[in-house]
């Protein structure tokens, strides 16, 4: 009896400990991630009747989302903007990550990484407004260029259009791209580079044959980290995108709020989520394939 109690006591203490440990984040994930997504999925199959929701199952929202040209234009524009932002961000981030990993002395690296994250100390909105100041009609760039006599009229293609969205987002997401690339570069065994040198390769070919392929997982990670959230961004296009810089997320916001059609907004959101997921998966697959076949 005594022994059994001890055994049971031990079990009671041990068995739930895993679940107990994991339950707060699990609860958090269910409440704040799974439930909202489930709600959005559910709503996307309903219909809005002015003030109340018709809860009969329908695919009408999806039909509309996939057939109306306006949504297709916005979706394609969103993907194009995201792809451009991803490309720009990764291209800008790689040299920085490379510099910190290969040219900054070991004991200074953490300081550099710390400095790279400084933009995060200000709010995202603040940074967008700062870009408005920089890119604006009477902004820093135009002012400087006019004063230097390089241009006479302020440049109009840098604010309130897609270019401004790309510039702002590329800057905002740069640290998210720098960090994974930096980590991948840090992991490269430096003796591999020496071995490549020893086998006769110069700087450029050494980079192309060793550094780049080995950093590719980091580059890929950076690309996905930047690509996925930028498709859904709606603050930046609203503030610096102008009328032609609006993206699919702005339309989703519009449906949920002003247009009072949450079911259509939900269908658009789910559609865009699926498209992004599919593209990301294809991207990962292609890269994995590429990595495996390289020799």
């Amino acid at each position: 009896m005594g022994a059994a109690a001890i055994v049971r006591g031990r079990w009671r203490f041990r068995l739930p400990s895993g679940l107990v440990l994991v339950s707060p984040p699990l609860l958090y994930a269910i409440l704040l991630l799974a439930l909202p997504i489930a709600a959005v999925v559910t709503i996307s199959f309903w219909t809005q009747n002015y003030l109340d929701l018709d809860r009969t199952f329908t695919l009408a929202n999806y039909r509309e989302a996939w057939s109306q040209p306006v949504y297709r234009v916005l979706m394609l524009r969103s993907l194009a903007v995201s792809a451009t932002v991803t490309l720009c961000t990764v291209l800008l981030a790689f040299p920085i990550a490379y510099f910190v990993s290969f040219h900054v002395p070991q004991h200074r690296k953490s300081l550099w990484i710390f400095l790279i994250t400084i933009p995060f100390w200000t709010s995202y909105l603040m940074r967008i407004f700062l870009w408005k100041v920089i890119l604006g009609y009477n902004g820093v760039i135009n002012g400087t260029l006019i004063r230097l006599g390089i241009i006479e009229e302020p440049l109009s293609f840098i604010l309130y259009n897609v270019n401004a969205v790309v510039i702002t987002l590329s800057h905002a997401w740069a640290p998210f791209a720098i960090l994974p690339i930096f980590v991948a570069l840090e992991k490269i065994d430096r003796s591999l580079l020496e071995a490549a040198t020893d086998l006769g390769e110069g700087t450029v070919r050494k980079f192309l044959r060793i550094t780049l392929p080995l950093a590719l997982p980091g580059v890929l990670g950076a690309a996905i980290i930047v690509f996925i959230p930028t498709v859904g961004d709606y603050v930046t296009p609203r503030l610096v995108g102008g009328p032609n810089g609006l993206l699919i997320a702005n339309m989703i916001e519009l449906q949920f709020k002003k247009a009072n059609n949450p079911p259509l907004g939900a269908a658009l959101a789910i559609s865009s989520m699926l498209i992004v997921a599919a593209l990301s998966l294809i991207f990962v697959r292609l890269n994995r394939h590429h990595l495996r076949d390289r020799s």
Binding site: E194, A195, D198, L199, L214, S295
Partner: protein, 361 residues
């Protein structure tokens, strides 16, 4: 025949305040197996890296095959290296690794494949071409690293502690394989190691380094039997040191009084540079001392003593013998041949020794 392939002249290299190479001069001969032996931190790896072109000497000169290497980048030197961790490219197959250096030579696919096959055969890795480099074992990685370097037919192959990561069995096997490979290809090998056994068994000549300087360059036998100084003698194998006094020179040689062994006559040549009256250390290897068992008659010299300690190693027994008339003990190693008893502690024994095997420091 004995043309030097590498000439080192007064090579200096410092890292901050640490002097890694303190004026190293040496010649490495075409086609030999040359080892750089020394304790960790003695500068042997720095020297190897300086030859490879990964470190620039602060001063001094490195010539390979008659060409001054100052300012010649590592990728333009006629050397190839096997790295300590092998540095196998993880994103490539075995063939990709082995053929890595060939791409620059722009050979055709068939020729490249043929050379890769040949190089893999040389290191007994036939059929490994398409294996993923990450799936290789330590010994296989080492072979790939060897094939990758040798396929380029370097003038000199540099090996940075290539066997230290392998387990004992594999290490011994690779030692003889490396030796045979070197003989077969005829390329000069320069091996860095801290393992004296490795250096002694594999090398034609060994350079022993301490604190950034080469102290002695000689054949393994010479290094073992005639170490240049006390430091070398202590580093290579084990040695007994007995206090001794140099006596006067006679026509037969120089008298030396060794504590515990008595007076002996040594060839005057081997007593140099000591002179009469000097207090010196007399070094003698444990295997040069023999315990005389009852029936065996003392041939040359005999000292008496008592067994103070004993270590049994299976094939060998090491006795610590306290010699009569001194506080010092000497280590005597005896091979455990048939019918030879293992002597108990406290036994009185007679030790046989020979004046030729004594080295004075």
């Amino acid at each position: 025949m004995s043309e030097p392939i590498i000439e080192l002249q007064e090579v200096f290299k410092t890292f901050g305040r640490i002097v890694a190479l303190n004026g190293v001069s040496a010649e490495i001969i075409q086609g030999e197996f040359f080892s750089l032996l020394g304790p960790s931190g003695c500068g042997k790896t720095t020297l190897l890296r300086a030859i490879a072109g990964f470190e620039d000497p602060d001063s001094g000169n490195i010539r390979i095959d008659g060409r001054d290497m100052t300012g010649v980048e590592a990728n333009r030197r006629p050397t190839n290296m096997v790295f300590q961790n092998y540095a196998i490219f993880p994103h490539m197959t075995v063939a990709g690794n082995v053929g890595f250096g060939l791409t620059r030579k722009k050979l055709g696919t068939t020729e490249t494949m043929r050379l890769i096959d040949e190089a893999l055969r040389m290191v007994s890795l036939e059929g490994f071409q398409e294996r993923d480099a990450r799936t290789l074992s330590g010994g296989q990685k080492q072979r790939v690293a060897l094939a990758r370097a040798l396929i380029l037919r370097p003038k000199v192959l540099l090996l940075d502690e290539p066997l230290s990561a392998l387990d004992r069995k594999l290490r011994e096997q690779m030692q003889s394989e490396l030796r045979n490979l070197q003989r077969a290809v005829g390329i000069t090998f320069v091996l860095v190691t801290h393992d004296q056994e490795e250096a002694l068994t594999m090398s034609d000549r060994v350079a022993i380094m301490f604190d950034g300087s080469i102290v002695q360059i000689s054949t393994p036998e010479e290094l073992y039997t005639a170490p240049a100084n006390l430091q070398v003698a202590e580093f290579i194998g084990s040695m007994n040191f007995l206090r001794a006094t140099v006596g006067r020179a006679t026509s037969q040689g120089t008298e030396v009084e060794v504590e515990g062994l008595g007076k002996l006559i040594m060839a005057s040549e081997s007593v140099k540079p000591h002179s009469a009256g000097d207090n010196v250390s007399a070094g003698i290897r444990p295997e040069m001392l023999t315990v005389l068992f009852d029936e065996e008659a003392g041939t040359a010299r005999v000292a008496e003593g008592q067994i103070a300690d004993r270590s049994y190693y299976g094939d060998m027994t090491y006795y610590a013998v306290r010699l009569e008339g001194t506080e010092q003990t000497v280590t005597v190693s005896m091979r455990n041949t048939a019918n030879r008893p293992i002597l108990p502690l406290g036994s009185r024994v007679r030790i046989n020794w020979n004046a030729d095997s004594i080295v004075l420091f």
